[in-house]
């Protein structure tokens, strides 16, 4: 028998996938994941509950660092490395530096956000075992898919298939690893 990545099942409506996920959690499954064409409301709290603060913290830290970086460039250029007297204004004329400090802060935040989003989502990952599954093809379009992964301690192919059948899945498929 080939090694399995998991068992995948297709549902027709967002409501069905939500109740299926809730049911799986009640039955004691832990390593399962839902794939949907758009973020289904309430599904994330069922599949992976708990507050998620990493991204906001990463972006906030990047904002602070970006602002410091932006101010430092200007301070270094205008007050330390290449001071020019412009009409007697102070070399470290901070009000004039605020605009660029602001822009550097925002640039760093957005960059950290995009990067953090990709890293936390384990992207880019151009190949994934799920891409071989027929059932998975429509998950980016109009179907709602749940996969119980083989890494789950409660995983047992026949039982998982039985659970999905009971939940009213349209199609069920085994995904080889």
């Amino acid at each position: 028998m080939t090694k399995l990545f998991g068992i995948i099942a297709e549902f027709r409506t967002p409501g069905a996938v939500r109740s299926a996920a809730a049911h799986l959690r009640e039955r004691g499954f832990r390593a399962f994941e839902a794939y949907t064409p758009y973020p289904v409301k309430g599904l994330d709290q069922i599949v992976d509950p708990g507050p998620k603060l990493v991204l906001p913290i990463v972006m906030f830290t990047a904002a602070m660092l970006g602002a410091a970086w932006g101010y430092w460039i200007q301070f270094w250029g205008e007050a330390v490395n290449y001071p020019i007297n412009v009409g007697g204004r102070p070399y470290n004329s901070w009000p004039a530096f605020m605009v660029s400090t602001f822009e550097f802060m925002l640039l760093a935040t957005i960059f950290a956000g995009l990067l953090g989003m990709l890293v936390l989502s384990r992207l880019p990952k151009l190949y994934h075992p799920l891409f071989d599954a027929k059932v998975f093809e429509r998950a980016s379009r109009d179907r709602f898919v749940i996969c119980i992964e083989a890494s789950d301690p409660a995983f047992e192919p026949a039982a998982a298939r039985g659970v999905f059948e009971q939940l009213g899945a349209i199609r069920i498929e085994e995904v080889p690893a």
Partner: protein, 441 residues
């Protein structure tokens, strides 16, 4: 908002097929061909300009800022409109934004290069423009960080980079849809690589939405700052007519109205061209038209204060310049501009006008033209009537000034037509949510 017969299946297939089809429709080829021919004017114009110097333009002292700088402001305003619709109305949770934001952002990314080219062409020594970057160099010099012109460079640079990242963060799920629908090997690989292996899992969606919402909250003040700093380029000088504290918001109001006008025209093009009347409905045009009307009112308010300042103030130079602007050489452009951007758009108060495609195109086109005139008038007229009459001058655009305008319009349209062909032009993942919400009532 979306026609009831649109389903998740039909939406994905229809929008993706616009990108995946092997044969682009005839209107696309005609549009792209004409745009590309217009674009070819740009390299010719640049060659002449770089070989002969900016004397080939009509600019000379005292009117050293000619059409190129006026058009820089014009292009950056058009681009800013894209971010306003996309980011600001994401924050207000306006549902009509979902179907139009990709058009708005594609427009923004097509317009920003045109804006960026203008000041570089105007530099005189364009090859040295990289001196504006704040990097440690062997010359031991740094750019002047107290100057609004440098702020403007930083703003534009950050704006381009941030817009690209914002665009891509919203685009990844749609690229995955196109990847899964692609039939040929090349397209599968092309969109597969661009989609980075997006699977739409719960955690991926959560990360994407958290970041996208935060990015919107950042892009909204960002775009206000970009166009305000463009206003400071002018307000920072002592030139009569420019040295006005209302310039930053005044410029921003111009961005709201002209950007929205261009989005309306492009939305109508996409809607008609790809037959997306059931996704881009009258509801969307109606909402965009209302935004445009608000922009007109804001701009009209700024015009009142623009006239009030010189009348109420005691500065003779301001009064003289204002008189020349309204009744001198620029008078026709000045008055027709007020009619095009403030008077005629008042028609948008009437709901039938907001639903009439032809009238919307005419009004929007008039606004874009009018905003070009506005930028032209305040750039030229102030420099031509400086504080000392012996220093007055005049400015006539030459054929190469007009070539720069034609070429950048060609560049803009060429880029936009390429977006139309290669990128899903409707944000499918967001419209799916709207469809489900409407279905569940």
């Amino acid at each position: 908002m979306v026609a009831p017969e649109v389903t998740l299946t039909s939406l994905s297939e229809k929008v993706s097929s616009c990108v995946l089809t092997d044969r682009a429709p005839l209107w696309w080829w005609i549009g792209f061909g004409c745009s590309f021919m217009l674009f070819l004017v740009l390299p010719i114009q640049m060659a002449v300009l770089f070989i002969d110097g900016i004397g080939v333009w009509g600019v000379r002292i005292p009117v050293a800022w000619g059409l190129a700088l006026a058009e820089y402001v014009w292009w950056i305003a058009l681009a800013s409109g894209g971010t306003i619709v996309s980011a600001l109305f994401y924050l207000t949770r306006s549902p009509w934004r979902s179907a139009t934001n990709r058009i708005a952002e594609s427009m923004l990314l097509s317009a920003v290069p045109c804006a960026g080219l203008m000041p570089i062409m105007h530099l005189g020594r364009p090859g040295l423009f990289y001196w504006l970057f704040p990097y440690s160099n062997v010359m031991g010099v740094w750019p002047q960080a107290r100057s609004p012109l440098w702020w403007d460079f930083i703003c534009l640079l950050c704006y381009i980079l941030m817009s690209l990242m914002y665009y891509y963060a919203g685009l990844i799920p749609d690229l995955a849809t196109v990847r899964d629908l692609a039939q040929t090997r090349f397209k599968k690989i092309f969109y597969g690589v661009l989609a980075l292996g997006w699977r739409g899992s719960v955690s991926q969606w959560r990360n994407q939405r958290v970041v996208y919402a935060t990015m919107s909250a950042i892009m909204a003040p960002m775009v206000v700052s970009v166009h305000s700093v463009v206003g400071l380029d002018f307000a920072g000088g002592l030139t009569p007519g420019w040295h006005v504290t209302q310039f930053p918001p005044y410029f921003f109001f111009g961005a709201v109205i002209s950007g929205t006008a261009l989005i309306i025209m492009l939305t109508i093009l996409v809607r008609w061209g790809y037959g997306l009347q059931d996704v881009l409905t009258e509801y969307h045009l109606n909402a965009l038209a209302k935004v445009m009307l608000v922009g007109c009112l804001l701009l009209g308010y700024a015009y009142v204060w623009e006239a009030f300042g010189p009348i109420y103030g005691s500065d003779v130079a301001e009064k003289t310049e204002s008189y020349h602007r309204m009744f001198g050489f620029t008078a026709p452009a000045f008055w027709s501009e007020k009619i095009l951007t403030v008077v005629i758009p008042q028609l948008l108060w009437f709901p039938p006008v907001r639903r009439n495609v032809l009238l919307l195109v005419l009004i929007s086109g008039g606004i874009i033209l009018g905003m070009w005139q506005e930028r032209y008038v305040f750039t030229i007229s102030s420099l031509a009537h400086n504080s000392i009459p012996s220093y007055w001058g005049s400015y006539f655009p030459t054929v190469w000034d007009w070539a720069a305008l034609a070429g950048t319009i060609g560049l803009f349209l060429t880029l936009f037509f390429l977006f139309l062909r290669f990128v899903p032009i409707i944000s499918m993942s967001e419209v799916r949510e709207i469809i489900e919400e409407e279905k569940s009532g």
